[in-house]
């Protein structure tokens, strides 16, 4: 079955993308994937210097260029092409790791994202290379005297734990690694190191053997360090607050502690009538139990829409930036698709518009529009105003306002949701009107929380493992469509006469899924009972809880 088709060079851009999209060819904005062509040519100018100098220079260049990368550039920057070529060899790959540790400043808003990006873009490391990285946590490397190196190494370890989930990740989490990361959760540890160690542990736990190992170690301790860290969730320091958020997430999802309630069980959602929609979000975004705070630690570009849809009037919400990196926050309709793997998010199609205060641009229809507001910082308040009557979108940063944007109304007039996309390690909190606004607009507006309505079951944000367990109990009827297993199979294709498909799936078919022959007619076979199963079992389960 299945042969190769790379002969067909006409769509070579597409052709290269045969694997899991998480690691390739993402959009220029959410990330910087692209295909690599002739990197050897680029390498010659660098060959005179030593490898470490060269790699350091390239990493610096990438850091510089990445904050200015806009629009769909045909090629990724030279520095990334050259790094890709250098890391083909194990020595080059290890040098990249060392260089990332040396070069990426702790305070660079995109630092950890760039590390994740460059590692994800490099060829797969050998097991020896991975273990070499593991050895770097040994005390003799003097990490404790160098915050930058240590923070960056923790980012690197987390990325590898995630990228290599499985045997290599298990090999990397040896005793000394486990001890090292867990001891980094201690009170006296520098918060940047603490945060990234915590995230690394979480990423290790994506491999179930590792999860068991970590959980066992935590249970042998007097008290899980995550419980102390979780209290930072309300801290006024934005760094500590991130630690609190991630600790809480780990306790709910990976390392539960007996006697501790899940966050959803003790979060008061009674006054919340609009939140981020956990059924309308790409897979890896983390959403708090109150549905108002979100964070991405995956290397994909994660997106979410809120629960409330706007059809008319003037609307406003605010976002508190917890981290200052790349996020695209604004408005999107249902048509806007979340292609987290390809780096597409809010503002990357004609159905959405997003403000990016890190690179100081506004995104719409995958085009960037510069704006004059300053770069955002942790603690900045972004205001998002959508006026459907005047057909204006206006963003404000700490009260300072952009010009109105109207382009988006050429493609869509209504049906907007508040929406946002997140690059790795980014976090923010939404205020849909639950709390007073800091910079309310001058014109008359409505807020989501006053107008929204959510059933009590809609407000429950379950930890994913509980939610997925419930889903797996769903059963399927015998007469259901063989493609979606969701609706009743009522259609027959002609002339091949293959059947077993529902109306919805048949609509999307270009050829017969069974024999690949062209479809001339789509015939409805039986209409004795309702065709559509409207209420999904999933919703039924949710109502029961």
């Amino acid at each position: 079955m299945g042969s190769c088709l790379c002969k067909d060079k006409n769509d070579s851009e597409e052709d290269n993308d045969t694997g899991v999209g998480r690691s390739q060819q993402r959009h220029a904005r959410g990330s910087l994937r692209n295909s690599y062509r002739n990197p050897e040519v680029l390498q010659t100018s660098a060959s005179v210097k030593t490898l470490s100098d060269t790699v350091d220079k390239l990493v610096r260049e990438t850091l510089d260029v990445i904050s200015t990368m806009i629009d769909n550039e045909p090629e990724p920057p030279n520095s990334i092409l050259m790094l890709h070529s250098i890391t083909e060899k194990p020595a080059g790959w290890i040098e990249l790791v060392r260089s990332l540790m040396r070069v990426v400043p702790v305070e660079h808003p995109m630092g950890p994202s760039v590390i994740a990006l460059l590692l994800d873009d490099s060829p797969l490391p050998t097991k020896e290379s991975v273990l070499k990285v593991g050895e770097m946590v040994a005390p003799k490397y003097g990490l404790k005297n160098n915050l930058r190196k240590e923070r960056n190494l923790c980012v690197i370890i987390g990325c590898l734990a995630e990228k290599l989930a499985g045997p290599s990740s298990i090999a990397l989490l040896n005793n000394s690694m486990l001890k090292y990361l867990i001891s980094n959760l201690n009170e006296d540890i520098e918060p940047n190191v603490k945060l990234l160690s915590l995230i690394a542990l979480e990423k290790f736990a994506q491999t179930s053997e590792n999860k068991v190992t970590i959980q066992k170690t935590l249970q042998d301790m007097k008290q899980s360090p995550f419980l102390t860290l979780e209290e930072y969730v309300l801290s006024t320091s934005f760094l500590l607050r991130q630690i609190g958020f991630c600790a809480c997430w780990c306790l709910d999802n990976y390392f539960p502690v007996s006697g501790r309630q899940y966050s959803y069980e003790n979060t008061d959602v009674s006054k919340i009538n609009a939140m981020l929609n956990t059924k309308d979000v790409s897979e890896y975004l983390k959403i708090s139990a109150d549905g108002l705070e979100a964070r991405c630690d995956a290397y994909t570009f994660e997106s979410v829409r809120c629960t409330f849809q706007i059809t008319k009037g003037c609307w406003y919400y605010e976002v508190l930036l917890i981290t200052p990196g790349v996020m695209q926050i604004g408005w999107a309709t249902k048509e806007s698709s979340f292609l987290s793997d390809d780096g597409y998010g809010i503002g990357d199609d004609k159905y959405s518009i997003g403000f990016d205060g890190c690179r100081r641009i506004i995104w719409h229809n995958a085009k960037s529009i510069p704006h004059s507001l300053p770069t955002w910082k942790s603690g900045s308040i972004l205001g998002c105003l959508l006026d459907l009557e005047k057909q204006e979108v206006i963003f404000t940063l700490d009260g300072e306002s952009t010009d109105p944007y109207r382009h988006i109304f050429n493609s869509v007039k209504q049906g907007f949701f508040a929406a946002a996309s997140f690059m790795s390690f980014q976090q923010c909190r939404f205020n849909f009107g639950l709390e007073p606004f800091r910079y309310p607009p001058q014109r008359a507006f409505t807020n989501f929380n006053e107008s929204g309505m959510l059933s009590s079951s809609d407000k429950i944000i379950l930890p994913r493992h509980i939610y997925l367990d419930m889903l797996r109990k769903v059963s399927v009827r015998d007469d259901s469509c063989t493609l979606c297993f969701d609706k009743k199979a009522t259609m027959r294709l002609e002339p091949c006469s293959h059947r077993g498909f529902c109306v919805t799936c048949t609509e999307q078919l270009k050829f017969c899924p069974m024999c690949r022959s062209d479809i001339r007619r789509k015939v409805q076979e039986c209409t004795d009972s309702p065709v559509n199963v409207e209420v999904s079992d999933v919703e039924a389960i949710q109502t029961e809880t």
Binding site: S168, R516, S536
Partner: protein, 151 residues
């Protein structure tokens, strides 16, 4: 998470209940669209004895579009490149929504048994495979021993 289509639930249930010999696909605990896959190298192939880790992701419009699959374990194969990307028609223009995770993984297993150097993704590997197949197979065996055999 977006609500999970019944198709994915059903396929997952079947993969767990009736696993395919030589293939192990386990859904990620936190992401039902992401599978951790292990394929054992087929007998009588240069990959025999190897245990190859792959990742498989079901995109939003699955099954109308194909799963995205990638090797995580390094492998010396003319149709698999250094990033682990696989050149296989059923993952691309020959995809049909009637195919499933299990059929795709079987195709990949078959690709290990029958490399196709005439349609290469990894050019240097394919070149050697054509001009000196014995040498290429030797390399593939070495890589299998080096990267795909557990200690």
């Amino acid at each position: 998470m977006s609500s999970l289509p019944r198709r994915i639930i059903k396929e997952t249930q079947r993969l767990m209940q009736e696993p395919v010999p030589g293939i192990n696909a386990i859904p990620d605990e936190n992401n039902a669209r992401y599978f951790h896959v292990i394929v054992t190298g087929p007998n009588d192939s240069p990959f025999e004895g190897g245990v190859f880790k792959l990742e498989l992701f079901l995109p939003e419009d699955y099954p109308m579009s194909a799963p995205k699959v990638r090797f995580i374990t390094k492998i010396y194969h003319p149709n698999i490149d250094r990033l682990g990307r696989i050149c296989l028609d059923v993952l691309k223009d020959k995809w049909s929504p009637a195919l499933q995770i299990r059929t795709i993984l079987l195709s990949i297993q078959a690709l290990l048994s029958a490399p196709n150097p005439d349609d290469p993704l990894a050019n240097d590997v394919a070149e050697l495979w054509k001009v000196n197949e014995a040498e290429a197979i030797k390399n593939a065996r070495e890589w299998t021993q080096k990267y795909a055999v557990e200690d």
